[in-house]
Symmetry: D2
Subunit: 335 residues, 4 copies
Amino acid sequence: MTRIAILGATGYTALELMKILVHHPGAEIVAVTSRQEGNPHVAMVHPSLIGRIDLQMQDLSPAEVAARTECVFSCLPHGVSASRIPALLDAGCRVVDFSADYRLGDGDVFAEWYGQRHPDPGRLGKVPYGLPELFRDQIRGAQLVANPGCYPTTAILALAPLLKSGLIQPKGIIIDSKSGVSGAGRTPKLTTHYPECNESVAAYNIGRHRHTPEIERILGIAAGGEVDLVFTPHLIPMDRGILSTTYSTPIGDVSEEALLQALSDFYADEPFVRVVEHLPATKDSLGTNFCDLTVRMVRGRVLTISCLDNLVKGASGAAVQNFNLMYGHPETTAL
Amino acid sequence: MTRIAILGATGYTALELMKILVHHPGAEIVAVTSRQEGNPHVAMVHPSLIGRIDLQMQDLSPAEVAARTECVFSCLPHGVSASRIPALLDAGCRVVDFSADYRLGDGDVFAEWYGQRHPDPGRLGKVPYGLPELFRDQIRGAQLVANPGCYPTTAILALAPLLKSGLIQPKGIIIDSKSGVSGAGRTPKLTTHYPECNESVAAYNIGRHRHTPEIERILGIAAGGEVDLVFTPHLIPMDRGILSTTYSTPIGDVSEEALLQALSDFYADEPFVRVVEHLPATKDSLGTNFCDLTVRMVRGRVLTISCLDNLVKGASGAAVQNFNLMYGHPETTAL
Amino acid sequence: MTRIAILGATGYTALELMKILVHHPGAEIVAVTSRQEGNPHVAMVHPSLIGRIDLQMQDLSPAEVAARTECVFSCLPHGVSASRIPALLDAGCRVVDFSADYRLGDGDVFAEWYGQRHPDPGRLGKVPYGLPELFRDQIRGAQLVANPGCYPTTAILALAPLLKSGLIQPKGIIIDSKSGVSGAGRTPKLTTHYPECNESVAAYNIGRHRHTPEIERILGIAAGGEVDLVFTPHLIPMDRGILSTTYSTPIGDVSEEALLQALSDFYADEPFVRVVEHLPATKDSLGTNFCDLTVRMVRGRVLTISCLDNLVKGASGAAVQNFNLMYGHPETTAL
Amino acid sequence: MTRIAILGATGYTALELMKILVHHPGAEIVAVTSRQEGNPHVAMVHPSLIGRIDLQMQDLSPAEVAARTECVFSCLPHGVSASRIPALLDAGCRVVDFSADYRLGDGDVFAEWYGQRHPDPGRLGKVPYGLPELFRDQIRGAQLVANPGCYPTTAILALAPLLKSGLIQPKGIIIDSKSGVSGAGRTPKLTTHYPECNESVAAYNIGRHRHTPEIERILGIAAGGEVDLVFTPHLIPMDRGILSTTYSTPIGDVSEEALLQALSDFYADEPFVRVVEHLPATKDSLGTNFCDLTVRMVRGRVLTISCLDNLVKGASGAAVQNFNLMYGHPETTAL
């Protein structure tokens, strides 16, 4: 039974993580942290957890966390996470980091996209990217894993096999993504105020969404070279779910069947990627750790459509999948 | 052409009011106020108004407002509104007040429910309640009109005729109301954050919602005596619309047909109340100034079901209806 | 490992049941029936089940079902279910029936509310009502259990303890319920067509909803005498969730604290009823087998608010809870 | 006062058209047709029209329609519309056709995409396409106008000026569109059943949506040559609104500012196109005849984002705009 801490436990990814971990036979949540005053009970902050977790949130230092736990899930904000994690690692904890802090390859790219100096630049580029479908072996032995972003998971799972197989061009890729509102976090803002975003759809952060360099880096690894892409996220009036539609150029004379076969082959043994022939809907994977995807060839263009639950395979489910690999549990445990 | 000012113009009722007034042949919006810094253009705050209104929001004193305009719609918060309105009235403006400040009969009740001293208690009880279906004559000549609350309009329009006709008991009335989220205003809060209130329904403020004394006062006038009731509001995952289901006890041996006839007779000449035989849905009146209502008799209980668009007949449409009466326009102008 | 059949597997309750049972260590789904042509794969009808269940739907006779399975969950429509179940019982199967067929006490009441003769009237009144919180002992030994309706579960769990303790009057109870759209089933109809019911709320079936006699019967057992009530269901634009607000009259001089204590005491050892002090939202129990409830005293009236996920505690979760009792599994297994 | 008939009046576009026309000072609806049995009152089919239109739906022949009216809005299905319109034209009626029947250039393309022979191929290519921003002069004198599709309007308004000015390549254009559910019509289907499409997003009809040839034809006229594109529609859980994101390749060394200026110049005098600098949301144009659009340059790609209310500027508002042009009313009348 691994003793678990969850840092920054007031948001949606932490909530989803707790819901999953309470069913995990090899994990016991023993500490949840928050800077909220008064050490509120977890169930005060998340009423859905009443009767499921009996812990108070506390404002614990890394040392206090390390003293009580073996494995830490950090749901802290970008920049903050990497300022706490080194101490946890030094104290012997293993860490799954939900933030973007260890997903990029170097500190300059981080500074460019996140507008701040990286607190722990020496580790960048050496931390496994927590997408088991691509980096399972590295994750297995890791002390620290960078849990992927929700948008990147949809795009990478769809495109990486095609790039790896040399079936599509690494240049000029377009990723048009649609996300439910929970992806924007739990802090009330005008853009996520119900009467503003309900019954409406809009694009946001065009050309400057921070998942862009993350997708490029990982697809670059898959392609074995530079990848360039345009990433356009849209906000959709629903709680959960991301669907990404990508457009790329085939290399040579490849058929839709061959593309679909390449994806099916690549994911043949994967428990959480379902290559389907129909056009998947986000609802099909709602509440699950599945990513559903397919491919189409239209007028000489390759289209992929991939979708998942942003709080599960796009965040907390993936984190538990990584935890399972790190601790030698069957990869599907609790998922 | 009446020169109009709108005070407190950043919210949803002000937005809806502007959308209506731009089509009004007898009204010209010449000033909109807000304490937002930098005098933003109306269309910066409300992008839907781009190309429809060309005004900047300003932080104007009552004197400045009075110097430019003849009629003022106050969308200021409770308590604030009544601290500005006396100066406007003294300067000769006519005012439609969206706040609750002039809806109650005396300052003690106000203090009890709103937790503050009333800034202008002397006028309480003398200001016409802006429900033309009940108080048309008083509204016509008024300098100040208290625009009704959204919940009260649904409940009062359904129950007042039955109380007035002596068809139902004034005691033990239950009002179970369901409201869309725009009724909670435009300030982001956790309870109206999209992923919190979407796909969820909950009751709130049971036994202490501030519309309770307002409904009791106006129904008391209709009944010619004291009315006591339980009012339970619920938040529904939709933008607009309120539906109220009421339960009361019939007096004597009255049939469902007689109850329906009483309502039909009472509203026979009303342009904005539709007494229907089917069970109305809030969507039927969405974007309109209609209130739809019907009545049922079930196991010796009288049930009314009434609904409207909380931003139109429940707020800004009603305000324009009052404006039309105050200025002698046909009552349906722009509605 | 109990071999399971699911009859009438194309709808939402069957889907939810399958999602739960695939995680049950003591159950194996071996047959799913449907009259759909061509014996479609379960995952063709329910794409979310791809990779989770590998079975084809078949149009099986009761004899064929009985030959393959030990326990049958019937999701067949009212009237049809009771025409199939006797043969299954005779063949030795145990059955959890999702339909209303065995929930009422006699055939005349069934005929009055369901408009048809009951196919198996002799069993009426003898089949345990599958609400473990009230009838656990009877369920344990039963061969056939009548799984409760979704609305009734909310109302009964809130009111039964108060009636049983003599804290509220059994007459004049009002139940005002709000339900998500999945409760209306999976057959497309105009009333559940997205652009009709989205952004709208309406009451339906006032005074004639078929859950009325079911609630009255079970509350009557709790009260030890006749109960009379008005039940008003409303359709809410969300997928899942029911919230019921009830209004009743206290007996004697009972306080809100005493009422809350009575509920807390009654459910002290129950794994799936959470008596809370705050006003619960349906989202708190979304996707779980919990029923959350509380009580308020307002102006001499007792109000209860109770909510649950209509597809889990309101249907398939309750069915698995009953299955667990019937087969001696821990009651919370897979829930 | 022009006497108006509306053919096929049971759907959403007809409903929206009626809501607009009742406020039009130069139009009087005198006939509404439907094949529904029993000549139901318009308000029986559309409860929101109670008290606003007092007409019965009738199953009228073209001759009967022509005898009563001067102008006909046909909301009949594709294929059916063009089988009725010739008789109306021969009888002297002017017609605005909501179907796709007269939007394409020749019968072979129609047959290819609509799977049927065109009933009136001789007129194809000669009927003005009812987008006043591009074809105002032709619409003015026309007897028959082909009202544009909702998706095409978003895409064409965004791309036509850039193609016309030679700022983007006519090849390899990608149009990724997101539409609310009302665009799918009023006939209940599983895909538009509330619990299926709520809280979900999916692509549909990839590579074979019928709006593809319509967009290509009109953009081809703007470009003065062949245009080729990929069009991917997605269904979004909201009632109304379409947002299209397009991706194209700039010609030469053009800046974002120059692209925005080109759009602003092109639409400088247009009452219903708002070229904005921010990223527009569909809600900004909800219930209005506006199309909001903007442009971005990202990594050497031109992105346009355009949106509108599919039932207004995407259908019935555009139809009234065309009617206004045809009959010499100010173009914004009733809009």
